[in-house]
Structures are given as structure tokens and as C-alpha cells.
Amino acid sequence: MTPEVGDALKRLDTFPKVLLDLVGKRPDGVAIREKDYGIWQSWIWREVAEEVRALACGLASFGLERGDKVAIVGDNRPRLYWAMLATQALGGVPVPLYQDSIADEMQYVVEHAEARFAILEDQEQVDKVLSVKERCPRLEMLVYDDPRGLRHYRESFLLSIDEIQSRGRKFHADHPDLYLREISKGRGEDLSVILYTSGTTGRPKGVMLSNDNIIVTARNANAGERIRNDEEILAYLPMAWVGDHFYSYAQALLAGYTVNCPESASTVMIDLHELGPTHFFAPPRIFENLITHVMIRMEDATWIKRKMFEFFLDVAKRSGARILEKKPVPPTDRLLYALGNVLVYGPLKDSLGFTHIRTAYTAGEAIGPDIFDFFRSLGINLKQLYGQTEASVYVTVQADDEVESDTVGKAAPGVELKVSDGGEVMYRSPGVFLGYYKNPEATKETKTGDGWVHTGDAGILGEDGQLRIIDRAKDVGRLNDGTMFAPKYIENKLKFFPNVKEAVTFGDGRDYVGAFINIDLDAVSNWAERQGLPYTSYTDLAAKDEVYSIIQDHVEQVNRDLASDSALAGSQIRRFLILHKELDADDGELTRTRKVRRQTIGERYDQLIEALYSDGDSVSVEAKVTFEDGREGFIDADLKVRNAAVTSLRATPVETAELSAAS
């Protein structure tokens, strides 16, 4: 090794260099595990380095050059992570793809990225790529990990990782200097990875991130979140998603912690329970599923267990989060919580696999406060963060002592944050992407000349620096007096009440905010039964004064929440009505994924909307409904319109709001 090479290797500005450094420092530390044949098989850093070298030299022997793109497709497998390292060692650029994309989507990305090599998990992925290979003229070679079912494929350009590696080992013996020399050529400013975002509109865009982008951001995150080298994480999110690239690759290598690959996509929950990770990341729906799972199991439990569960859950709700945040708690509660920990919380966390969690994150969309508080009350340090592929994930993250269900935290270390005059959240950080691959127009639209990035999200930056994400910027409107109106934000707040199934708010170009509410039949009918309130049908129940009263409480609760926020205080709900029928996808009022179709509803219920903006306290409707068997009918109803009290007090103490929500 020449001195220049040695010096270049000491600058830890690419991942292959970081790997070499780790091997020097902790050769026997466990780098990665994979559950295979029912057992967690592990590789230590020294072994990983050897595997990566063999793979890199093998790819070099087949002509992989600096700047070549390598598509990587599959579930989280150690060898696919090694393929990323091997590619980067040679100065190539890995392009991970979503493993569930259909062949045509893969063809677009492979062709757009100009990939010369594709490294694929198994026969399923090989078949998909083979079916579109003719339309990927630059693609030269396919490499697969799992040989099952591929024994009789005769394509000359199709090879197994084993074959590549054994060739690589020979190649390394013949060219012993090549590997380190290639690594030493890597620079921090070089392109590290291209991550394609699954754009909701149009074709996916390739986000180019440099080594510096990712390494600096991950270092900051590791330091800020006190990530240690003995963390255990479960790598189960798609490799093509920036979240996984960050947690299972960047942070893992920089901190030197252990990444665990589940046995298969269907065993993730079992593996989670066995492993008990210390660091965990999941979108809100995973946490929702876990709760549903627990609640269903509790329904089946014996009477005494159920009582115990309910009692201690109440205790946790009162004081669990406060104990976690080291805030004062009455001694009796502290004692009860300790008892609950032995009887309920401990076993529950164990069965979820959350016993050892030090930090858990949720991101991606709004999480229901009940769900969020449930996990925190069990003593699990669940936090929210806000990020984007374009930012190398981190934009904001909640500090351990400043966790709220409706904020996403303060700017992460090194991140500058602002809200534009139009209400859009913008940031500038060391993680800001280089640009969209082969798409300078889109880059110019998103990233300003001086490095600020438009997120497309509307948000509010509190005086305390806490960011709150409200809505997609394009959905945000204005009341006539210029107050910001964020329909989804308000609707989500309403929908977090179990009694409210669906909510639609109006306000853009109006004097005040009005709302349609759909009651949740299960929850409200259950309540009505307990109250001894007779009713004949959904329409009848929805029109009951008693039901209006509970919904009015909810609306006013939401108003109090909104009032505590100067930017949104003006968009409190003045008038609301309860719809006489459920909004239904069959009637075109919702999409199949249960998103509200504002336009359809606006047209169909224009009388009702007018009623919200007039003085009358009732309105009669005749609405067309489509029955399950396809017949159509009409429902007549007199709907009441209620006024809701508006809170003028700004800064209602948050504590009160919390307590009344809990009671």
C-alpha cells in the first residue's frame, strides 16, 4: 500500500472506508445477522469485509467501473447490503429498487438509472428483470443471491453471487492492490446512492445523495440520539426506502451496530419478538397493527386478566409518559406503575419485542395521539421525526424531553428550518441532495440556488422551534380574512375521536370553517346502548340530540386545541352537522383507500354546505344512496346544524387539554 492510498483510506468519507476502519477497531464485533434455517446466523465485521472484498473484486473482474450504476432488488438480505458496499468500493453507485414493484416499474428505473449490473435476491426478481431485459439495453449482467429454481436457467449473463465471489477471490490474489486502491479513490462529494421516490404523480424521481450528505447526516443523528455500537435493529423496511438505507446501512456502519435481517417478510413480527431490538423505526400503521393485535388478544383473555389490564392501562395513561419524561408523579401512582410494570407492561412489552427499546421512531404520516400515548405510557421512548429522501432523512426529530403527539420536533442538528410566506416548510442541511438524476427541471423546482429545499408540506414553526406538519401545501386554503385553513389537519384531529369515523371541513374562500361529521356506528351505537338510548337506524341515531351533544364536545375540544395555536386559532369550527349516511366508496364519496373526495361531496351536498354558511338550524335533504345489491334509493332527513363554541383564549394550558382528553 502506497502512503497516498493509506492516507486516503484514513479519511472516513465513504462507506467502504468506514467498513475498513471498523474491521481495524472491532474485528470480532457482530455486524449483521440473518435468521435462516430457524437460527440467527451472524457475521462479524472481519467476515463482512472479506465477503464484500470478494464480491467487489468479482464485479471488478466483470468490468464494473467507477460511476457505473448497479440495481439492487430484494428483501433485506445481508448479501444485498454487501452488494451496496462492494459497488461503492469500486466507485459504482447502488440503486436499490422496491422489491414489490412490477416488471414495468423496474424497467423504468433500471433504464433511467442506466444500470449495467443488477443484483437480485431470487428467482422472482430474476424473472421480472428477464421479462423486460430487452427494454434495458444498457443492462449487461444479472447476479442472484438465492439459486433456488434458477438451476436450469441458461442465460450466459446470469450468475450467482457465489460464482462472482469465487472469481473475485482469484482476481484479488492476482491483483492484490486493486481493491484498496479503488476504495482510496472514493471522495466524500462523490455520488453515493440514487434512491427513487415513489412519486404519487408521474414517474419516480431519482434522488442523488452524496457520501457527505449521508455520512454527515448519519453522524449528526448518531451523536444527537446517543446511538451506541451495541444497538440491535431489525432491518425489515424496503431497502429502496431512504429510511432503511439510513437505519440499516448508514447509521449502522457509522455507529458499528448490529443489523438483523428477518427470516422472511411474513415472520417479521415473530422475529421482532425474538430479537427485542434497542432501536426501532416504523410507520404509524405498524404501531396501529400492534395495538389492534394486543386488544384482540385481550378480548379473549379471562375476566380477571382483562380487569387487570384495564386498570393498569389507566394508571399508565395517567402517569406512564410523565415517568418516562422524568416529570413529577404522585407517589401512589409511581408505586402502582411499578406494580403494573411487573404484572402488565413488562409482559406486554416482551410479547411485542419492545423490552430493550431505547429509542423508537415513527414517521411518514400523522400518528393518532391515542396510539402514540399508548406506547409512551408503557415506558417505550417512541418519538416522531420528520424527514424526506431529499434531506437524507433527517429534517426534525423530537428530543427525549419534548415529545408531543402533534409535533415532529425541532430541527435536527445541522438543519436550518423555515416556513415560507406561503406556509410551506423549507429546510437547508448538510444532507440536502445533489439533485434529481437526469431531471434538472425538477431539481430547480425543488431546490433553490442557495440550497433551500421545498418540502411541499405546509407547516407551522412554533416559537419554541417545534415544527408541526399540517397538510400537503397544495391542499391548504385561506379563509376570507386570510387565516390559513388546513382541512386535513383539522379532519385528522376530529377523526382521532373514536366516535368520529369521517370528517370533511370547508373553509377555503369562506368566512369561517364548517364541518360535516360522520359518526362511527360501532362506537356510537355501543355508547347509545350503554345510555339506554333507543334508535332505529343509522340515520335516526345520527340525528339524536344526545349524539349531537357528544360530537359537539369533540368539536369544541378540537377548537380548544386549535386556539392554542396562533396560526390556526382563526380556523376553528363554527358550525357543523352530522351526516345522515356514511360516506361510502360505492357512492363515489371516498376513494377505495378511504380518502375523502372533496369535489364529489361538494357537488352532492351543496345544500348542506349552504346550510353551514347560513343561519338556519336545520336543513332537509334527500340523498341518493346505492345499496349493496346495486339498487338505488333515496333517504329523506332533516339535519340539524349546530353552532360550536369557539375558544378565544390563546394558549390554553396544554396540561388541561391533556387531562381532559384522558378523562
Binding site: 435462516d36 434455517y37 430457524g38 437460527i39 433456488r148 429454481g149 438451476r151 436450469h152 436457467y153 441458461r154 427470516e263 422472511s264 411474513s266 415472520t267 415473530i270
Partner: protein
């Protein structure tokens, strides 16, 4: 089907086998052969004698006359335990698993014949028994991995949906590392997706392990897709034998399936 697979010599030959139950002749002078590494389908209308044939092959029924030659040894009668020892494993038309036991344990039972260490050693789990147990677990895990049933490893099979039970049963048969695998209606009662899965597993078993497979199946699409050769039985007699495309065109087969007017005279 022809992608590189080499079908070998005769693994099992059936010569003039007849079985009758009282006055009912279930099989009459049936002869055919099963070649190494092939997938052979035995088809025929209801009551044609398919299951009887399979029962003869693994020794449940003794033929009235006729012989079977397996691995160059000729038998006139073979007990089920002998058949198992010689490497013939099977699954059943109605799933026959230990419903209270887990998937893992059910597949383990398929290894019984391979377990040589003595009961006492096994009971105290000591010495060579430990090593042997580990080897068997490894073999079972390879099957679990192969059949993609990791997530139900520890679930009692009684709680599994039917399609998965069938897969576990296949796993148990595979655990014996058979030379010849007999499948009695592996796809009966399955939905389309389960059928496709099962087809893939059967093809994979054949391809990856080189296991010879004889199967009974009613779904003609499946039979024509996956088998190398088809034997057709009707009223206990063999009426056709050959490549699926040939058998499909055979007039006797068409008659047997669609029915012809039997002369009542």
C-alpha cells in the same frame, strides 16, 4: 419441462398387478413404470383405481397377483414399513397430520426412520443423541425454508388453513428424503392461488432434490402442466400411458372422461 432435466432409468416397475375386494376388481393387470427424476401423473375418472394403485405402491394393499420391481429388486408383496425404508414416502387425500402438534414436530415425525440413536440417550438428550438431534433439526429446517412455512413453524397444524396443512404434509413426506414421492391429490380442495403454490413446490422438489414423483390429480390443467408422463386408468385397467399431449388426444381417454354409451346388450 425439458430445461435440462434428464430423466433416467426405470426406478419402479409395476407388472400385471391386480387387486380385488371381494367381487370388485379394483385393478386388473396394470403394468407401467416410473422413471428416475420424472413426474408421473396417474389420472382417471372416479373409481378408476388410482388411490388403490398408490396404496399398492407403498404397501398398504397386497396385490392378488403381479409384481413390483423397485431399485432392481422384485417384490410380490411389500409391507408399508418396508416401502418407507426403501425410500417411498406419500401424502394422503385427506390430510393426515397430528393436529395438536406443531408444524415443526409434524415434519420431525417424517424423520423417524432416520433416527438411529437409542431411546434412552434421546430421553436425556446427551452425548451423540444431541448431535443427531441437531442434524435432524437442520434437515427439518431446510424443508421449512424450502416450503416457505417459517412463520408457522411453531403453530399447531390444527389451526392452519387447509392449503398450509397440505404443505406441511408434503414437508413431512420430504423429511424422509424419499427416492419416490407419492402424492394423493395434492391439490384437492385448494383455491387457485394455493394450487399454483403447490404446483411450484412440486416442480421445485423434483428439480432441486431430483425426487421422482407420482401423483394423482383431478385438475387436468395441473396434470398437463407439470407432469412428464401420464398413466390413465379406467375401471381398474390402464387405457393410456404417455406424454401429456399424446394422452390428451387419445380417443380411449376422451371416451373414459366424457363417457360413451355402454352397450347395454
Amino acid at each position: 419441462m425439458t430445461n435440462g432435466k434428464s430423466i433416467g432409468d426405470t426406478l419402479l416397475r409395476v407388472d400385471d398387478v391386480s387387486v380385488s375386494f371381494g367381487a370388485v376388481a379394483a385393478l386388473t393387470d396394470v403394468s407401467f413404470e416410473i422413471r428416475e427424476r420424472e413426474i408421473l401423473a396417474i389420472i382417471g375418472p372416479n373409481g378408476a383405481g388410482k388411490t388403490t394403485m398408490l396404496n399398492v405402491l407403498n404397501g398398504v394393499y397386497q396385490p392378488d397377483h403381479g409384481t413390483m420391481t423397485f431399485n432392481d429388486r422384485t417384490y410380490t408383496r411389500m409391507r408399508p414399513s418396508e416401502a418407507a425404508e426403501h425410500g417411498i414416502a406419500r401424502t394422503f387425500q385427506n390430510v393426515a397430520l397430528f393436529r395438536g402438534m406443531t408444524t415443526l414436530d409434524n415434519i420431525f415425525t417424517g424423520r423417524t426412520l432416520k433416527m438411529k440413536s437409542n431411546l434412552f440417550m434421546q430421553a436425556i438428550y446427551w452425548g451423540p443423541a444431541q448431535k443427531v438431534e441437531r442434524e435432524h433439526r437442520q434437515a427439518v429446517e431446510r424443508i421449512i425454508d424450502f416450503l416457505e412455512i417459517e412463520e408457522i413453524r411453531k403453530v399447531p397444524v390444527g389451526r392452519l388453513p387447509y392449503g398450509l396443512q397440505k404443505r406441511v404434509e408434503l414437508g413431512r413426506a420430504l423429511a424422509a428424503e424419499p427416492k419416490l414421492l407419492l402424492l394423493d391429490e395434492p391439490m384437492a380442495g385448494m383455491n387457485l392461488e394455493e394450487k399454483e403454490d403447490m404446483c411450484r413446490f412440486i416442480l421445485d422438489v423434483n428439480e432441486e432434490f431430483g425426487t421422482t414423483i407420482a401423483l394423482i390429480e383431478h385438475d387436468m390443467g395441473v396434470v398437463m402442466d407439470i407432469s412428464d408422463r401420464v398413466v390413465v386408468l379406467d375401471y381398474g385397467r390402464k387405457i393410456a400411458d404417455g406424454h401429456p399431449d399424446v394422452v390428451r388426444q387419445d380417443s380411449a381417454v376422451i371416451d373414459a372422461y366424457l363417457g360413451v354409451a355402454h352397450d347395454a346388450a
